[in-house]
């Protein structure tokens, strides 16, 4: 994705929610997913396009202390297949798959025996994968669960899209930061009380008029 600093992003950076708040939203989604399915763990993996890796962005349950931020290659394994084919799938007894995130499993000592995974799709893009690990053994999988998983994935992909937008907007402020002033101005006006805000907006309008905008 090419990213050149632009003023709209700078304005957004001043008023958009923080990375932390979107991360909290992702964490809430995986928490609900785990709870609804009665699963041991749930996670959201995001694609890092530059390194072609999947990164754990939200983890709840087994592995939540160690997995966050962990990366593995996006081209292979079950999550890789789900991402590349944009297709959800459910697998029971994953321990038998020698390639299932083995390094991750060994690091944490946690090897799931069942996995539900759905792609996080936004418009034409596959942003990542939502996984639910180890549902109760006695509950046989049905199409109803698959539908529910799809609904969660849809919700998660909207949250992920917001998170990525916030990151893009905030990145505008990095580097030489020449547009930081725009973000600061937007944030300052956004924080003003009614009367002052109206005056601030008038001032901005006059300024825009002076620039012929």
């Amino acid at each position: 994705m090419t990213e050149k600093p632009d003023l709209r992003a700078a304005v957004a950076a001043g008023v958009v929610g923080s990375e932390e708040s979107f991360r909290a939203l992702l964490a809430a989604i995986v928490e609900v997913a785990r709870s609804i399915f009665g699963a041991k763990a749930s996670s959201i993996l995001l694609l890092d396009e530059e390194t072609e890796e999947l990164v754990f962005e939200a983890v709840v349950g087994e592995g939540e202390d160690t997995l966050l931020g962990t990366r593995f290659p996006a081209g292979k394994g079950i999550a890789g297949w789900v991402l590349a084919t944009r297709t959800p799938l459910v697998i029971e007894d994953v321990q038998q798959d020698p390639r299932f995130a083995k390094e991750v499993a060994e690091d944490t000592g946690y090897v799931p025996s069942g996995l539900m995974a759905a792609p996080l799709l936004h418009e034409e893009l596959a942003l990542g994968v939502l996984s639910v690990l180890d549902r109760p053994e006695q509950s046989l999988f049905s199409l109803k669960e698959m539908e529910l998983l799809g609904l969660f994935a849809n919700q998660a992909s909207i949250a992920v899209d917001l998170l990525l937008k916030a990151r893009r907007a905030n990145r505008v402020l990095d580097g030489d930061g020449e547009l930081q002033v725009v973000a600061r101005l937007a944030a300052a006006i956004d924080a003003l009380e009614d009367e002052k805000r109206a005056s601030g907006m008038k001032l901005l309008n006059d300024l825009a008029g002076a620039f012929g905008a």
Binding site: G75, K76, R86, Q96, L140, F141
Partner: protein, 283 residues
């Protein structure tokens, strides 16, 4: 490459232009095969083992020599070079995720004597996977397979037009493209095209049970829940998803085409309709 497929029918011998039918040519297009008054499941595939039908698994590769799959007719991996040139080379890596092996196993279980080939379109790189998918499908269509199992789709709109052309080209070359329907609220291809056989999941245990859907775009439902499949390392797993319902329909198509090699994709779809569990009742 030859136009002759396991159907034993050669498109290059068709002397007639496709857009008209002179009076004296009517006899020349008389089609072989006697159709029964009632097309039954037994007429369609009874006694068929799939022998003679060639099935292609367009996926993550297939583990060669898996005890539940056996030997493959061929296995190639598709990649794209720096100057956009397409390479179809012998696949020495095998299955990169396990999914292709699972699909091949489902086909093998239902059609024990059909030929299975693997065209791997996943695993080389992640970015550009859509272009590899297109190149792999083009390659598979050129090989004249009878059935191409495509348990995957793309959401990239720029690819939709080319995929549409490829799906039509397969249809006219008598290659049946069996594609997984998406069960999430997104636009994806090629399953939405009417020239392919699109497949969603049902929950029944019978691997030969399949249902016609009177409300397209999904046209058929195959077994897609709690299916035992072969996986990597000569093992097996229990899996669910439309991507596993699709090879059930691919196998059923292989059984029918092995017994009735003269069928065109249009006729095959009609036979599937007439023998669907909710239409002919599997009788």
């Amino acid at each position: 490459m030859s136009d002759v497929t396991a159907h034993g029918w050669d498109a290059s011998e068709a002397a007639l232009p496709a857009w008209s039918l002179p009076k004296d040519a009517v006899d020349r297009i008389a089609l072989p095969g006697d159709w029964p008054e009632h097309v039954t499941r037994d007429w369609a595939l009874g006694g068929s083992t799939g022998k003679g039908a060639r099935v292609c698994i367009l996926d993550s590769g297939v583990e060669a020599g898996h005890p539940l799959i056996g030997d493959l007719e061929s296995a190639v991996a598709i990649s794209i070079g720096e100057n956009d040139e397409v390479f179809a080379e012998e696949d020495t890596e095998g299955d990169v995720s396990g999914h292709g092996t699972a699909c091949a196993g489902i086909v093998r279980a239902l059609a024990p004597e059909c030929s299975i080939s693997s065209v791997r379109v996943l695993g080389s790189t992640f970015t550009g996977s859509g272009a590899v998918l297109l190149a792999g499908l083009r390659y598979a269509v050129e090989q004249g397979f009878d059935v191409i199992n495509m348990s995957l789709s793309t959401t990239k709109k720029p690819f939709a037009g080319i995929l549409h052309e490829l799906a039509d080209s397969a249809y006219f070359k008598r290659t049946v493209l069996v594609a997984s329907a998406h069960n999430m609220p997104v636009e994806s291809y090629p399953w939405r095209f009417s020239s392919v056989i699109s497949v969603g999941s049902h929950e029944e245990d019978d691997p030969l049970a399949f249902f016609y859907n009177p409300n397209p775009p999904v046209e058929f439902f195959g077994r897609g829940v709690n299916v035992e499949v072969p996986w990597l390392g000569a093992r097996s797993l229990k899996v669910s998803g439309n991507s596993f319902a699709t090879p059930h329909l691919s196998a059923i198509c292989a059984l029918i085409l092995a017994k009735h090699p003269e069928l065109t994709p249009f006729q095959l779809k009609s036979v599937l309709y007439l023998t669907a569990t909710n239409v002919g009742g599997g009788k």
